[in-house]
Structures are given as C-alpha cells and as structure tokens.
C-alpha cells in the first residue's frame, strides 16, 4: 500500500462533484456515439448535424427554447419536492392534469383574452396540485411511499387526457385532438412565447424565497434532517403537504403553458416525457433551483437532438435510453465524488 489511500467522506467537494457530473455526461455521450458507430452510423457527422440544426438558425434556437420551457417547470417541480425529501415521479401526470384543467377553462369558459389566460393559469396550478393531493396526504398521514403513488397517477392522467381528446372534446374532423384554444400566451421572438422568460424568472424567485424566507429555511431543515426538524418543533407535516402541493402546481403550470403557448390544443402526446425528463433535470441540477434552468437547457438540447436525428432512423426512445445512461453514470459519479486521496497514516 502506497503512502496515499482513498477515503470516503460524508460530503462531496463541490468542485469534484461538478467534475464527476460533467464526466458522466461526456462519458454517456461517448458510449452512445460508440454504440451508434457500431451499428453503422457516423456519430461525427450526426453530431455536426445536431449542432448546426440546433444553433445554426433562428428556427433551431426557437425549437430549443420551446423545449426548455416545459422542462424548467417539471424540473422545478421535482427539485422543489426533493428539497423536503420527497420524490415526485409524477410530474408527467401533473403536467397533463394542469394542461387538462387549463384546456377546460380555455375551451369552454366564454371570457375575453387577458382574463381567460389568467383563469387558465389558475386552473393549471389547481389541476397539478389536485393530481398530487392523494399521494401527498398518503405520505403525510400514512407514510405511504410517494415515489410509487405519484408515478401510478401518471398512467391515470395519460389515459384520461387520451379519453377526452379522442372522445368528448375531440374537434370536428380531427382524430385525437381538441379544437384550438382561443387564448394564447403572446410571442416575443419568432414562435418563442413569454412562457420561457416566466419560467426562468420563477426559478430565480423560488430559489430566492427558499434561501431567504423562514418558510424556506424550515423546508430545507425538514428535508435534510427530519429528526432535527421534529425536535425543533417544526410543523414538518404541514410543510411537507405545502411543498408537495406546490410541486404538483408547478408541473401543472408547465402543462398550462404548453397548451396556451406552444401546442394550443389538448392532445394525447402533449408531453414529450417532460415529466420524466424533469427528474433528470432536477437531479443534474443537484438541488439548485437556479441550476434547473441550466440542466433544463442541456436536456432540451439532448431531446432536440433526438427529434433532429429522427430523419436518420433514430427515435425519441433512443434519446430516452441516452438520458438514462447519463442518469446512471451521474449517480455513480456522485458517489465516487465522495472519495478523496488522503495520506495514509499507517504508512
């Protein structure tokens, strides 16, 4: 044994953790490129195509921006719940529930534009919060694992939206979509709407509120050390309920922004797995709500790459596998970042 050995420390040094994370992403992309090369594709040419298509034109940038927006909302949703130690794997379902509620208001409530948008926004928030209500109460009062209950609700939401968009709300002449919702979030750059700046602003405000307010402090304490929170007499259960409902509302808001800003209709495939990718976004952001904006941008780029490469015979499911690989290597990198070389006292 040399004079140095590896020792595990309880916390990872931030610099090393960040490095491990970048390493994981690069390694995952390299492995994917290798697999692509083995199946006969030319990864270099494909990568060039992705970069030029994403950043080489205004359309590319617009597409990227439209993908970032929902990912910020779902990423914030998962990251916020994680602050208090809850796994919200149900952002996908809450996204659909918010979109559903907002569409109901937008399609059937006869009010004029600015007011109707505001009511849609409220409906999106409430729809998302309602969708996480049962998992929240079950976790708070019966300690039922929220990870599984929130996830099961996803399937119910997808089936429900599929039902209304192919059944009672189906537009005349359409197969599986509702009529166009009259109220729209205004655009500011090509097809980019104000949902994107709003999402970024929301991330900043939430981060500020959580860092500076008493409520935020209590949430962080209850999340990082439940025993201490209990000992300090914090109303931990009420904080848990509030945070989980807010997380649901955030994902629901994402769904509202998607129907009111980007898609303008309620339809079955409304979410490009935004809810599941939100988990990736939150994990990559490493608990930082501001970091969610950056990791959402990264995930949007990867998702966009998949959409661009569809012409090359790849599917979005291939991208899902690549994101899974990133997540897997990130988890490993996070753990390895806890190790440091220390001088061996025995030597």
């Amino acid at each position: 044994m040399g004079p140095y050995r590896l020792q595990r420390f309880p916390s990872a040094a931030p610099g090393i953790a960040l490095l491990a994370r970048l390493g994981a992403i690069v390694l995952a992309l390299l492995i994917s490129a290798l697999v692509l090369a083995l199946t006969g594709a030319k990864p270099g040419a494909l990568a060039l195509q992705v970069v030029t298509a994403s950043f080489g034109s205004q359309f590319g940038l617009e597409d990227l921006g439209l993908l970032v927006t929902p990912l910020i909302f779902t990423g914030l949703s998962v990251a916020l719940a994680l602050k208090i130690g809850a796994w919200n794997i149900g952002a996908e379902g809450q996204f659909y529930a918010g979109a559903f509620a907002a569409s109901a208001v937008g399609l059937f409530l006869p009010v004029a534009e600015p007011l109707s948008l505001f009511l849609m926004l409220l409906a999106g928030l409430v729809g998302g919060a309602l969708w996480i209500l049962i998992p929240t109460l079950a976790r708070a009062y019966a300690e039922v694992n929220e990870l599984i209950t929130t996830l099961l609700m996803n399937f119910v939401a997808v089936l429900g939206v599929y039902y209304v968009s192919t059944g009672p709300w189906r537009a005349k002449g359409a197969n599986s979509t509702t009529a166009r919702i009259p109220a729209e979030i205004p655009e500011f750059f090509g097809s980019l709407h104000w949902g994107l700046p709003a999402a970024v602003l929301l991330a900043l405000l939430l981060a500020l509120a959580l860092a500076r307010s008493r409520f935020g402090y209590e949430v962080r304490l209850a999340g990082s050390n439940p025993q201490a929170a209990l000992y300090a007499g914090l109303p931990a259960r009420r904080r848990l309920i509030a945070v989980m409902l807010a997380a649901g509302a955030l994902a629901g808001l994402g769904g509202m922004v998607e129907v009111a800003g980007t898609v303008h209709r309620l339809q079955g495939g409304l979410s490009n797995s935004y809810g599941y990718l939100g988990i990736m976004v939150a994990v990559l952001a490493r608990g930082s709500l501001v970091g969610v904006v950056f990791s959402a941008a990264l995930m949007a780029f990867i998702l966009n790459a998949g959409i661009i490469l569809q012409t090359q015979g790849l599917t979005t499911s291939t991208v899902l596998a690549v994101t899974g690989l990133i997540l897997f290597l990130t988890a490993i990198g996070d753990e390895l970042a806890h190790y440091r070389l220390v001088r061996d006292a025995r030597a």
């Binding site: 694992n145 599984i148 399937f155």
Partner: protein, 311 residues
C-alpha cells in the same frame, strides 16, 4: 365460456406477469436493495423474448434468453448500487429509462407482428374437466405453474426455513450485524439483485410470449411499477406477492371482460383500474389498520448502502 370462467382464466394468465416481477423484486428488497428498474427490465425481457423466437421458434428459449439479459443488466445495476454504492433510486430510474429506450429502439423491427412462437395452454387430463377452475387453472400454459407454485414455494422455503434464508433476511435488516456474523453482505446483495432482475425480465418475456402475445412499444405499460407497489402491499413476502399478482390479474381481467362485453364504461376508464387499484391497495390498509404498519414493515436497511467502515 361463461363470465366467471373467462374472468378467472384471464386473471391467472394476466396475473402471472405481475406475480413473477413482484417475486423478483421481493428477492432484491429482502437483501435491502430497491430496484426501480423493474419496468425497464420487463421491457428488455419482452423484446428479448420476441427477438429470440423470431430467430428460433421456441418460447422456452425466448424465456431463457430474457432471464439471461435480465441477469446481465441486473449485474450492471448491482455493480453500481451494491459495489460502488451509488444512489439506488437514481440507478433504478436510469435502468428503467435505458430499458424502455433500448427495447423500443430494437423493437421497431418487430412492432405489430404476432410472436412467432408462444406458450400455449396445456389441458391437464381429468383436472381440466372440472367446471370453471378446470379451464382457469388446469388448462393454462406450463409457465403458469412455475410462476404461481414452484418458484414462490421454493423461495418461501429457502427464505423462511433455512439458515441461508435467515442470513439473507439479516442482510436486509441489519447488514452491519450480518457482516459481523461473517455473512458476505456484498455477495448476497449482488446475487439476489441479479436473480431478481432476471425474474423481472422473465416476466417481460412471459408478457410478450404468453399473454399479449407480440411486441408493441409501451407494451409493459406500467406493470413493472405495479409490481414494485405489490411488494409493499404483500409485506415483502414471496407467497403474498404472487397472490397479489393474481388479484391484480383479476382487476386487469375485469377491464378486458368489460371491453369485450361492451359494458357502458369507456375503455380508457377500464384501463385505469389496475393503477387506481394499486393506489388503493397500498394506501387503504395502512390507514384502516394501524397494526398493519408493523406487520407489513419494510426490511430495516431497505434502500441504504452498507459501508463497512461507517457503523
């Protein structure tokens, strides 16, 4: 076929998917590892089964190949979570993404085609003549007996009646004590996580070779997650896990029969039944009976990595 016979026959057939996957998850969770990759492993097993029978038309070979692929991915998962001790939740979710993505990519070549070879029902002489259960139980494919009887009974005996089983449970309850008693904690965890993953993939092959049969993207449809939930509902017991698989097979069958007979409920709502049923079954018991929490408790070290030098 009358209503009851049809319901039970479909219930036994459909429940086999959940029962086998849940049994695999019991193995992993009893040694203290939460494997949330079941959904992805099932997808991998499902496409492995289909691709294998497309090359060699033998369902048993397809099933075995799925077990092998499941064990392989299980070893990768175990290497990350047991050897490196990376976060189990993240690795499990990652495995599900990888499994779903890979299987969908590979599966495009097989999409919409019926399986080239399937597990067919075998009528057992005499027993299959019994009304109702003759058809529901004794005319099924042979895998059904492996899933409902042979495997769970074997696992149950090993887990609760042998020294090895006591060691296995000790690893999940208190790995430090188990380690001090000379039980190879890491090896036990690695082996049972791998075995559990193999069974999950096997459940996927059963799905595409015996139940559906055939591949389409999203064919697993959350069954892996339901299986994970069933393990909680079953209180981490192998026999109970298999029986709850059957119960959920019954709920699924209710939806099918409802659609076939044109009950005045939209198919989408009937399809929601298994998910809502699972929610109900893991929430209601712990609210209704406080005592259940203790009886149904998870292994004490579930989800926690074991570091020998941090005790």
């Amino acid at each position: 076929m009358d209503l009851l016979t049809g319901l039970l026959t479909t219930a036994v057939l459909a429940g086999g998917v959940l029962a086998l996957a849940a049994l695999g998850e019991v193995l992993a969770e009893r040694v203290g590892v939460v494997n949330l990759g079941v959904e992805g492993l099932m997808a991998l097993g499902a496409i492995t089964g289909i691709a294998t029978v497309a090359a060699v038309p033998s369902p048993w070979l397809g099933f075995l190949a799925a077990l092998g692929v499941g064990a392989l991915f299980g070893m990768v998962f175990a290497a990350a979570t047991v050897l490196i001790k990376a976060n189990q939740v993240l690795c499990g979710l990652a495995l599900t993404l990888i499994g779903n993505g890979l299987s969908a990519t590979i599966g495009r070549a097989y999409s919409g085609m019926p399986a080239r070879a399937t597990f067919e029902g075998v009528a057992i002489p005499l027993l299959s003549e019994i009304p109702v259960i003759g058809r529901a139980i004794f005319s099924q494919n042979l895998l059904v007996y492996l899933i409902y009887v042979i495997l769970p009974v074997a696992v149950s005996i090993v887990m609760f009646r042998t020294r090895h089983g006591l060691n296995l449970r000790a690893v999940g309850e208190n790995p430090a004590a188990a380690d001090a008693a000379g039980i190879p904690v890491t090896l036990m965890r690695f082996a049972y996580v791998t075995a559990g993953s193999a069974l999950a993939a096997g459940a996927g092959a059963y799905l595409t070779l015996a139940f559906v049969p055939g591949w389409s993207e999203g064919v697993v449809a959350g069954r892996g997650w339901i299986a994970v939930a069933l393990v909680i509902f079953a209180g981490y017991r192998p026999l109970a896990a298999v029986l709850s698989g059957l119960l959920f097979g019954f709920i699924t069958a209710l939806g099918f029969v409802g659609q076939a007979r044109g009950w005045p409920v939209a198919p989408a709502f009937l399809s929601m039944l298994p998910y809502l049923g699972t929610m109900g079954f893991i929430i209601v018991p712990v609210i209704a009976w406080q005592r259940m929490r203790r009886i149904m408790a998870a292994p004490a070290a579930l989800g926690l990595p074991y570091y020998r030098d941090v005790r």
